[in-house]
């Protein structure tokens, strides 16, 4: 029986594009929502970076500045990285790569997106009434108890801000978003476990499917405490319960544990899918098998396990037991070993390859280089005593943007350029893809590389302006100029993304139709039409081999699709 046979009813616009249960439509919904939120988060960054570089202009007040940086962080992590990397591409790739027609629970999939969309609207509502200004980490007591409900004002004991305040709304939004992803994630796992094409063992699963599922598992087992913590915090804010109020026996540091128990694994939740995209692009454009495929996956599993016992490296100076800090630093530094192994495998995949520098490949290589730098600067922060100096300085800001921007922008763009012909069905312009890459790569480094310098000097974070009156050591040169360089470079990066979105929209309407398998890749999604119809496959495939049989010596062709007999 063919999937196409039942695929083509005339569904109305609402059924087809709004309340669709088709995994590709839902993926596209996630992707577009994520991109819109990315521009919103970027706009906030334009605001506060301009204030920071030119404090004399007094563009933002102290609390407006706080609220901009906080909302920027929350939006970028929860409403950009998560939906684009995990949800959008999870939805696109999992069913097509394992050779089935849709998710195991299509309706649940749709509910997951709509819950996510509601959470995004709640987040925007929070932003519209002033947002929350106590940092994306939401530390109480500041977050639990405020007189000025919005922008992070003064703390007044016993006075709670109520539900309709920037802070309460954003906490609610985060909780909703988490639930949406839990529902979506469960679906991913069940689909991968149960609905693979005949013959597809777990080691025939493409790398990216492994990584997305691993991300979901890590998310599922780390987010629970934060859900509990968010509910407790919401009660503190609305009912005045005092879970985190030290004057009534509560403990503010408890929240930090609940938050970071999730917060560290969360990095891997977004990192793993991104590494998956990069791995796919690198093998395809080097025409080589992914080097040490099984070992890379085992390394990722080891790293995920370790990620559950390193969270307190965010709290070395927060007042935790200094003996415990030693325990956490050891595991934190050790986590570099599996990640080094994964990175070496990527590099080894390039060795003696037949490398083609397409746009997707450029973004993938850009990911490896920038993320490596993020990784090595992480060593400074995972090590006890140097963290004392760097904690809450611009060193940290530069470091985690050297991880999060590669993950979200470089990894995300790898995926978008790689699968654009498949899921949009149109060809894009390699020229503009490369222009986009080079402007982004250079401007990104120009933002964050100089930032390590004030960071080393101890320039601390979340300050609306380093004036001669308050922090004279930071108001002098070269730091003032460095802040201006970063800001100008950020404007360039922002404009480059505008060029990109225009390019994508133009190609969506005018691009020539893409062929089935433009990159000559092995995995199953390339055997569908571009874009895949409802139901994906004309005939369901059977899998005969692993996903990375490139340049097999006995064959003329340098690729060998998974579903090709023989």
């Amino acid at each position: 029986m063919s999937a196409a046979a039942h695929g083509h009813h005339d569904l109305g616009f609402f059924k087809k594009y709004m309340f669709s249960t088709d995994h590709k439509v839902i993926g596209m919904q996630y992707l577009i929502t994520g991109i819109i939120m990315a521009f919103l988060g970027g706009y906030l960054a334009v605001k506060f970076r301009s204030q920071l570089a030119f404090p004399e202009l007094a563009l933002l007040s102290g609390s407006e500045y706080n609220s901009s940086v906080t909302m920027h962080g929350l939006i970028m992590v929860f409403w950009v990285a998560m939906p684009i990397l995990v949800a959008a591409f999870g939805n696109f790739l999992i069913p097509t790569m394992i050779g089935c027609d849709d998710m195991a629970y299509p309706t649940l999939n749709m509910i997951s997106y709509w819950l996510f969309l509601v959470s995004a609207f709640v987040a925007i509502a929070s932003l519209l009434i002033g947002g929350y200004g106590g940092a994306w980490t939401l530390y109480p007591p500041l977050s639990a108890n405020m007189a000025e409900a919005s922008g992070g004002g003064a703390y007044v004991i016993g006075k709670v801000p109520g539900l309709f305040s920037g802070g309460s709304l954003i906490i609610t939004a985060v909780a909703l978003e988490i639930i949406a992803f839990l529902i979506g994630g469960l679906n991913f796992l069940v689909t991968t476990i149960n609905m693979r094409a005949p013959g597809m063992s777990i080691w025939d699963l493409p790398f990216v499917v492994w990584m997305i599922d691993l991300a979901v598992v890590v998310f599922m087992f780390s987010v629970g405490p934060l859900v509990a913590g968010a509910i407790m915090l919401l009660f503190d804010r609305t009912l005045g319960t005092g879970f985190f109020d030290p004057n009534r026996g509560g403990d503010p540091i408890l929240f930090q544990h609940l938050f970071w128990f999730f917060g560290h694994p969360e990095v891997y939740v977004v990192l793993f899918p991104s590494m998956g995209f990069v791995g796919e692009a690198i093998t395809t454009f080097s025409r080589k098998p992914l080097f040490g495929f099984k070992k890379v996956i085992w390394a990722a599993i080891v790293a995920s396990i370790l990620s559950f016992i390193v969270w307190a490296h965010h709290q070395f100076i927060a007042g935790i037991d200094p003996h415990a800090a030693v325990f956490f630093t050891i595991f934190t530094v050790l986590i570099s070993v599996p990640f080094a192994a994964m990175m070496f495998s990527f590099i080894a995949t390039l060795w003696k390859g037949s490398i083609e520098l397409t746009s997707a490949m450029l973004w993938a290589l850009g990911f490896i280089i920038t993320f490596l730098f993020g990784g090595v600067t992480g060593i400074y922060l995972g090590t006890l005593t140097s963290d004392v100096v760097f904690h809450d300085t611009y060193f940290v800001v530069a470091h985690f943007h050297y991880t999060f921007v590669p993950i979200t922008i470089f990894g995300g763009m790898t995926a978008i350029y790689f699968w654009f012909p498949k899921f949009v069905g149109k060809n894009f312009s390699e020229f503009w893809g490369k222009v986009h890459f080079w402007i982004s790569f250079i401007s990104f480094n120009a933002i964050f590389l100089p930032m390590f310098i004030p960071g080393t000097a101890g320039q601390h974070r979340r300050i609306a302006g380093y004036t001669e009156a308050t922090f004279p050591a930071m108001a002098v040169e070269p730091y003032a100029t460095i802040r201006i360089i970063s800001t100008v470079a950020f404007w360039v990066l922002f404009i480059a993304q505008v060029i990109w979105i225009i390019h994508m929209i133009v190609k969506f309407y005018t691009g020539e139709k893409a062929v089935k398998n433009p990159w000559k890749a092995n995995t199953l999604e390339w055997t569908c039409d571009s874009p895949p119809p409802h139901g994906n496959f004309a005939t369901y495939p059977t899998v005969y081999r692993g996903p990375y049989e490139y340049s097999v010596p006995s064959r003329d062709s340098d690729y060998w699709p998974q579903d090709e007999k023989g």
Partner: protein
């Protein structure tokens, strides 16, 4: 609109059972967060927590334990009847389960009302339990309301689930769903088994 791919079971575990176990695993971590918070509070004020545990009603807690265990027995029965296609008995067993969930909630309410009236969890609550150093004990009541409240919400959720399943299976279709509802109900039961000693038995 099903297709061969949609009904494929590669792992030979039905997808319903798979997803319900995953839901349970995720929920356990959420409760884990709450329980760890309770344990950390308790670690700081062991004596006060032990003292305050006397003010919870052990017999009501025990009664509720019995009620939930009995309800679990009935949902197992419902599963049995479903396997044997004895629809009437199955429906009755499911209703008894829902009813026992209701009993649980009634007992819980009787237990909660005076405590809420005394303002425990919001003020120092000394009107209710006398004058021991007030502040640290606050977190005992907070965790008590938070964890038992969250559990209560899951009881309600479980009851709704069973009711929805009841609607879809009463005519004899989708009988495997009884098992899913049962797994979830067992989980709700299990959480209570954890909470009971924490709040009612310590000391």
């Amino acid at each position: 609109m099903s297709s061969e791919a949609r009904t494929m079971t590669f792992s030979e575990v039905p997808k319903g059972r798979l997803i319900i176990w995953l839901v349970v695993a995720g929920e356990m971590v959420i409760f884990g967060g709450g329980i760890v918070a309770y344990l950390l509070y308790r670690l700081n004020h062991i004596e006060i927590f032990d003292y305050l545990a006397r003010f919870t009603s052990t017999w009501m807690g025990a009664l509720n334990t019995v009620v939930l265990l009995t309800s679990s027995f009935f949902i197992v029965k419902a599963h049995d009847y479903a396997a044997r296609k004895e629809l009437k008995k199955m429906r009755n067993a499911m209703f008894v389960t829902i009813g026992l969930g209701g009993v649980f909630l009634v007992v819980k309410t009787i237990e909660w009302v005076p405590k809420i009236k005394a303002g425990l969890g919001l003020n120092d609550g000394s009107a209710f339990w006398g004058k021991v150093s007030a502040a640290p004990g606050h977190t005992f009541w907070l965790s008590y309301f938070f964890l038992t409240g969250m559990h209560g919400a899951h009881v309600i959720l479980g009851m709704i689930t069973i009711f929805i399943v009841w609607l879809s299976v009463r005519k004899g279709q989708n009988l495997h769903r009884v098992e899913m509802a049962g797994i979830y109900w067992h989980f709700v039961d299990l959480v209570w088994i954890f909470l009971f000693p924490l709040f009612y038995l310590s000391r």
